[in-house]
């Protein structure tokens, strides 16, 4: 922590931090709910649930998101040096990486899961199953998985749109402070992912 007084913080940055805090609590609600179910039911770790997720695809995706955060901070540095062109280039890279992440998640992972009969609407999977049986509980895992990864993907989409807006608004080299605000929001996405990734892919 630095000795900067709160009044010195520009209002944009202050607002973004409050937004981040609010978002953290929303994600926190999901994460807490999932964690509670996860600790209650060992079935969540079974071959039919978390075990069915492809760890290495997840790792690749994490790396891509990490890279996108690096490009974003480079863009921020460029903005501090008033180098709008460089900043825009790296923001484009960030958007690209974000879209690749979404592409892998929605274009490869989810169809893969669907093919194995795991969908968010578990009506087919649980048809005729005994209440409280393992099938039922694994279906709950998939409910959580699709809900939370979907919600996270939504934030990536919003973040990309925000960055795109910043790219447009900085096209004449002004409003460069906005690069940082968009960046902070983008880092929030990474911040949430470093929790989601272990929860779904690693603890099984």
């Amino acid at each position: 922590m630095s000795d900067v007084s709160i009044e010195k913080v520009p209002k944009g940055r202050l607002g973004v931090w409050f937004l981040i805090a609010g978002e953290l609590v929303i994600f926190g609600g999901f994460i807490a709910a999932y964690a509670l179910a996860r600790f209650e039911y060992p079935e969540f770790g079974s071959k039919e649930a978390a075990g069915a997720l492809n760890l290495w695809v997840g790792v690749i995706n994490t790396m891509i998101l990490l890279l996108s955060n690096w490009t974003m901070v480079v863009a921020h540095d460029a903005a501090l040096e008033k180098n709008a062109g460089k900043a825009r280039t790296f923001m484009w890279a960030t958007i690209l990486l974000g879209l690749i992440f979404l592409g892998i998640k929605i274009g490869y992972e989810w169809p893969h899961d669907f093919a194995e009969g795991h969908t968010i609407s578990s009506a087919k999977a649980i048809a005729g199953a005994e209440p409280g049986s393992e099938v039922m509980k694994t279906s709950l895992f998939w409910n959580y998985y699709f809900l939370m990864t979907g919600f996270h993907g939504l934030h990536i989409l919003v973040g990309s749109l925000t960055i795109f807006g910043v790219i447009v608004s900085t096209s004449k080299g002004e409003n460069l402070h906005r690069v940082e605000l968009a960046g902070a929001y983008w880092h929030l996405v990474e911040l949430v992912w470093v929790i989601l990734f272990p929860m779904f892919y690693l603890i099984k």
Binding site: F27, F30, A33, A37, S121, P131, G132, L140
Partner: protein, 562 residues
């Protein structure tokens, strides 16, 4: 924003960026919804008093219709009447004016937040018109009932989305988003845009309270948004988050709900308390007693409010040891509010009290809220709540807290700041009749319910014919009295509309500072122009310097004067 440019009708009155206009939009929407909610209440009170009477536009109530009215009465009063008037309306109007700023920190965000709120209101109204009608789940929307009612698992997404409960959940989520955005605006404004020389403790108590309320809201609303999304998915995607057969857990929703639901009570309580502690010094011509400690205690209560949520679930089958803990924290939270009450009462002694209408409403707030406060101890005590939970005792208790907070507090604010908002005084006579009608109605309505509640009359029953002990003559007469009370409250609100219309058009002109108050909003013209202040005011002292011996001549010392 301070330069004066010509504005078209649209940009001045509808898509306005001016915080004062947005505040008026919020407040008017809120008042209209409050009236609708009140009519709902009158409707089902009529059914309770005279079962089987046909109500205009609704007809004879059956169980389903009754539950719909009760549910939407609570929802509307909380989220579409209390929040917009007290938090959004008041906050938007007061925060920039009291801090000597020209507008909110993010005017565009401000306008967006109102229009998101407006959309949420539209979605709410749509939810009444869905096949099967509106949500009939109780305002707490406990699953599995709320996750299954009106849902046809095979019907598919769209059909299940367009049902009353689904749309209500959607509307609530939108409403939260709007208040969240508005709240970020409040916090940034009051941190960054205070007038030159205004230290944190020179900020008026009401602004403190509004910001504390916003912080509480911001930190507590997340779990409920998550829970609401999960509930919506249970309805439209046939997921199993709250379905025990699939390992889901209904209790989880109750926690997600009340983790927000209890701080929510303080989100509306703190601004009401702030308004009163703003009005008392002006009409007693005396500083607010120990105003710094009042702020500190408000901060303390805002924190404790976050760790009392499970006291709504004592009998919901939660772990009894947890219940013990929450019972203790709940009773502890009475301490800061006891302090604030004592401080308010202490500020009366040795004053020169002038009982104008705003002061009258403030007095009504204090006395009625005292009843609500002390009866809260009964419910907070887990051992006793086992008996009182979900009985009319609870109904009486929270009407004795929420009506003073939202209604008396809000009215005190409206009567006090109306001259600043419109430039004209409100009629004292009409205001006083309005007050006495409301307070008499409130006590006729709520006080008898304590006794029927103690006798074990339980809530949300549309016809007590099945319950012999509840058909005793004295309990039936209590139902009649309560219904008459509700009718008196509702009808005396017509005076408010009358008063607003008459005064806004032909009330006597109010100068810059009709109440001889210290805070900065009275430095601006009334109504303040676009951009509020001709020259940005500076601040030299705290807001409650009344009858200061160092000040010669007048008995008040505005914050901006040397």
């Amino acid at each position: 924003m301070s330069e004066h440019h010509e504005q078209s009708f649209i940009s001045k009155y509808i898509f306005s960026l001016d915080h004062k206009m947005i505040a008026k939009q919020y407040t008017l929407t809120g008042i209209c919804f409050a009236f609708v909610g009140g009519l709902f209440a009158v409707a089902f009170r009529t059914q309770l008093a005279w079962p089987g009477t046909s109500i205009p536009f609704i007809g004879v109530l059956d169980g389903m219709k009754y539950n719909m009215l009760v549910t939407n009465h609570a929802m509307i009063m909380f989220f579409w009447a209390a929040m917009p008037t007290l938090i959004a309306g008041l906050g938007n109007f007061l925060i920039p004016l009291m801090l000597g700023a020209d507008d909110m920190a993010f005017p565009l965000l401000n306008m967006m937040s109102y229009w998101i709120f407006f959309v949420s209101a539209v979605v709410l109204i749509l939810s009444f018109m869905m096949p099967g009608g509106g949500a009939a789940t109780g305002w707490t929307m406990y699953p599995p009932l709320s996750a299954t009612i009106f849902v046809d698992p095979d019907a598919g997404l769209i059909k299940n989305l367009f049902t009353g409960p689904s749309l209500l959940i959607l509307a609530v989520a939108l409403e939260f988003a709007s208040i969240l955005l508005g709240g970020i605006n409040f916090l940034v404004t009051s941190i960054n845009m205070r007038a030159k020389g205004m230290k944190l403790l020179d900020v008026p108590v009401v602004v403190w309270m509004l910001n504390l309320a916003t912080v509480d809201f911001m930190f507590s609303v997340g779990p409920l948004i998550a829970g609401a999304v999960m509930l919506l998915f249970d309805r439209i995607f046939n997921t199993g988050f709250y379905d025990p057969a699939r390992g889901g857990d209904p209790i989880l929703f109750q926690h997600l709900f009340w983790f927000f639901g209890h701080p929510e009570v303080y989100v509306v309580l703190l601004p009401g308390l702030g308004i009163v502690s703003e009005i008392i010094p002006v009409f007693t011509r005396k500083p607010l007693f120990a105003s710094r400690w009042v702020i500190i205690m408000a901060v303390a209560s805002a924190f404790i409010a976050m760790i009392v949520w499970a006291h709504h679930q004592f009998v919901a089958g939660i772990d009894p040891r947890m219940a013990e803990f929450f019972s203790i924290t709940t009773i502890i939270i009475s301490i800061p509010f006891a302090f604030i009450m004592f401080a308010v009462v202490a500020s009366f002694f040795g004053g020169q009290i002038e009982v104008k209408t705003p002061m009258l409403w403030a007095l009504g707030f204090i006395t009625m809220f005292l009843i609500g406060g002390v009866t809260g101890i009964y419910n907070g005590s887990a051992g006793l709540d086992m008996y009182l939970h979900d009985s009319y005792w609870v109904v009486a208790h929270f009407h004795y807290t929420l009506i003073p907070i939202v209604f008396f507090g809000g009215m005190a604010g409206i009567y006090y700041w109306f001259p600043k908002a419109t430039g004209r005084m409100m009629s004292e006579g009409l205001g006083k009749i309005h007050f006495w009608g409301t307070i008499i109605g409130l006590n006729m309505f709520a006080f008898p319910l304590f006794f029927s509640g103690l006798n074990g009359e339980h809530r949300r029953i549309f016809d007590y014919a099945a319950y012999q002990p509840m058909m005793a003559d004295w309990i039936i007469s209590i139902r009649h009295t309560a219904t008459y009370g509700a009718m008196i409250i509702a009808s005396s609100q017509l005076l408010l509309f009358l008063n607003i219309i008459i005064s806004a058009s032909s009330g006597e002109k109010a100068g810059k500072n009709p109440w001889k108050a210290n805070t900065l909003e009275w430095v601006a013209d009334s109504p303040p122009p676009h951009g509020n202040f001709a020259t940005p005011p500076a601040c030299y002292r705290g807001p409650y310097e009344y009858s200061n011996p160092k000040r010669s001549g007048s008995d008040f010392w505005p914050q901006n004067e040397q």
